[in-house]
Subunit: 478 residues, 2 copies
């Protein structure tokens, strides 16, 4: 049995007995009451929806390093200020700039016709006139890994895994490595190109999901793209005739030097402990085909709106509420890694943190990675969140979300607030990630959850266990 | 009261009394029994689905006049032969060749970002570098028609009507004229370009519906395109800021001379009256973004499969079953009009006809335009179709379907077999018109309906009233 489970058990026993040690972290009754009011007010407040509407309309797609990246940063600074945040600032984030200019695909033989595909992040372009080669199909990443390089050499690998819809989106755990690791594995075996069935759950959509690859060494890359589900079906059928299937990829994309963007940060300054922070946020960048509404305009908006509700209280909270709009999450957590690197030394000052980056579906589960003595406070938070449909799973760790997982990795106490992702991978990273996918009521529930927990963490008597190297062995994150 | 209603009433009275005149058209009992067997066999036969699978896989998109047009004709000839049709031939159809090379759109100001759009049939291209102009929005075609030309001159008209889903697809009756007539009206008022909210019912899809415009005089055209529903939402929101909204259209498309394609015809030759024909069919061309599965590979496949079932009976039917795969329906019923022009003189030989061109949803309603003395035979057909869910509406005329409406216009007795089109306009004319949209069971029901009615019409004692100029005043068609 793993140590955290023992400590969880101990905490549960303590709670069950009604006893609490003097060292236990607790949320004062007045703060619980205010959190309940924040929660209820948020449910009837459209600030979050209006923020994501503003971002996706006024800036639209925000590919990291593109001209829209700077417009996104400008928007975030202006929005923080307009919302009345006490402090607004940026921190630079530098990363390789990947650009997408155009992308086309076709079956060349035996049945010539166009294919709908989208280039993957860090894919190089094809030679002028395109790359034409026979495809070789694999059911899974494991099958590709096991393949004799002779069967792959000179061909375009096609990995054909079909994702299904789940509330927790767990098929992404299979699909994502096919997109990230698959191209690297294929290149190493001598493939000249890489295709995958889109990492997306809408079997009928012709808008494939883009996303990043694991390419790191520019000398070891091959053109890589995702075809939509109907296009993958078509490739399957074409292969079913038993003749070689040849396709052409025509991608104009690639890395063009470095770019320095920014994490944009807004704070509601704590009245008692301004240097102690509750960290929430989302990422400001998005993939380019859609307008980044669910990924992750929603996350930025949820965090901004939650902090704004706390700001509008008669008094500032005891600790600082820090909202971070991260740069370039999509191409490898660049903003989150830069942030963690810069702030690792202050990890003990991070009271509790978590990022919203799984759309705008209702939060239905909470879990936490905190010190045992803070389990009581977490249970108090859970009790406030239960009426809006959030179940506390005391057996799971909290991961902190995508970028903030990096601070969690440094020792920050973290929650996971799991959203309903049933439809998320229908739209994630596609042209269809647009504002119409967000239900304003679900958005308001998210804001309620973030406002209530942030406030309670900010007012708690005691901390949640953040310290350098804490939680190093708490297993899976988000 | 209109004449057909009186004759319908008389026929109903006759049927109710159990009497039948000597001149009444009837289906012999043996033929009814065989039709029931055909119907039941069809429900467990996947021939129709296999045909549309073959067409959409092996040929894919089939834009009229494109290289795939000839591949479609070759496919149809080969498929008719493979299915054992007695006679297979083509008839030429000549029309202007419209080509689509590329299409891009963007909001230029106040919120620069790309838009997803698709050029409309017969749209000219924009000048190199695109056409940039302010948009002016109208709620409806009527509002555009009523507009002072001064408000439109030099601008890009944007007509913003939102279609909803209905079983009978009736919102297309509003949407289609916005696409067909709207560009012509806008051009006449001095607009420099035309945009419409897609004539499509999926509010979340980013794959807009293309389709033909009413442009006929190449000197009186302007670039015309459809934006997806989320893009139209975005334009609405941008306009909501109260500042001028400027967009850029960059379309490389246009008419390139003439093309001669072909209607492809397969026949099961009648044993007694080979010159008398039951005419069924679909259209072989499709729009280019999708693979033309529901529009109208399904129709071609339903008709082919129905005739194949009749062919497989121990004896040939009394009259000929003629399956017509029409050329270029999409850009103005070119195949249907050429067919009607060529065969108008033989209209009296067309026993009964109808075309399938509304997807592959289940047939739920039948109506007919036939002579009063044939109402009894229609009621016999209805009785055979009722068990598979088809309701006979004796008060509605039959239109014959898209291309065959032209033969009906010359005097051919015609049915309408109305399919469930609830989802049809989610995919119609979009990149998402692919095979996965077809339910094999629904397809089989369609084949059952077509096989049963075609056989009964072929075996009837008597005709359904086809004659030059008949049914000229039967009102609405499909």
């Amino acid at each position: 049995m793993r140590r955290p489970s023992l400590t969880l058990l101990a905490a549960s026993l303590l709670l069950a007995s009604g006893a609490a040690c003097a060292a236990d972290t607790t949320v004062p009754a007045a703060a619980v009451k205010t959190a309940e009011q924040l929660r209820d007010k948020a449910l009837h407040d459209d600030t979050g929806y209006r923020i994501v509407e503003s971002l996706t309309t006024e800036v639209g797609p925000r590919l990291a390093g593109s001209p829209a990246d700077q417009r996104g940063v400008d928007w975030a600074i202006a929005k923080f200020k307009a919302l009345g945040f006490d402090k607004v600032y940026t921190e630079p984030v530098t990363y390789p700039k990947w650009v997408r200019r155009s992308e086309h695909g076709a079956i060349v033989s035996p049945f010539p016709q166009s294919m709908v595909l989208t280039a993957l992040g860090y894919s190089p372009g094809t030679p002028k006139g395109g790359l034409t080669a026979q495809i070789v199909r694999f059911d899974s990443l494991d099958a590709l890994k096991a393949a004799d390089p002779a069967t792959v050499k000179g061909k375009i690998v096609f990995v054909d895994f079909r994702m299904h819809r789940y509330k927790d989106g767990h098929d992404y755990g299979t699909g994502s490595p096919i997109r990230v690791q698959g191209p690297v594995v294929a290149q190493a075996k001598g493939a000249v190109g890489y295709l995958l069935r889109t990492v997306g759950t809408d079997p009928h959509s012709r808008t494939p999901n883009t996303g990043v690859t694991g390419f790191r060494d520019p000398a070891k890359t091959i053109p890589a793209a995702a075809v939509s589900n109907p296009d993958a079906d078509q490739l399957e059928r074409a292969l079913g005739y038993g003749k070689p299937v040849t396709v052409r990829l025509d991608l104009d994309c690639g890395i063009e030097g470095q770019y320095t963007g920014a994490n944009v940060i807004g704070e509601i300054t704590g009245a008692k402990h301004p240097d102690q922070v509750v960290a929430i946020g989302g990422h400001l960048d998005s993939w380019d085909p859609g307008t980044g509404a669910i990924d992750d305009g929603a996350g930025v908006a949820i965090a901004m709106a939650a902090a704004k509700l706390i700001r509008d209280l008669p008094q500032r909270p005891d600790r600082t509420i820090r909202v971070i709009a991260f740069a370039n999450e999509e191409m490898g957590l660049w903003g989150g890694r830069a942030y963690a690197q810069k702030h690792a030394g202050e990890v003990g000052k991070f009271q509790l943190g978590t990022e919203s980056d799984f759309g705008a579906g209702k939060v239905w589960r909470m879990s936490a990675s905190v010190k045992p003595e803070a389990r009581g406070a977490i249970a108090q938070i859970a009790k406030v969140l239960a009426p809006v449909g959030v179940a506390y799973d005391a057996k799971r760790p909290g991961g902190g979300g995508s970028d903030l997982s990096q601070m969690h990795g440094k020792g920050m106490a973290a929650l996971s607030l799991t959203q309903d992702g049933t439809d998320y991978f229908d739209w994630h990273h596609t042209a269809a990630d647009t504002l119409d996918k967000i239900d304003p009521k679900d958005m308001a529930q998210n804001v309620a959850v973030y406002a209530a927990f942030s406030y309670m963490a900010a007012q708690a008597d005691g901390d949640f266990g953040s310290a350098p190297g804490a939680f190093a062995d708490d297993g899976a994150g988000d």
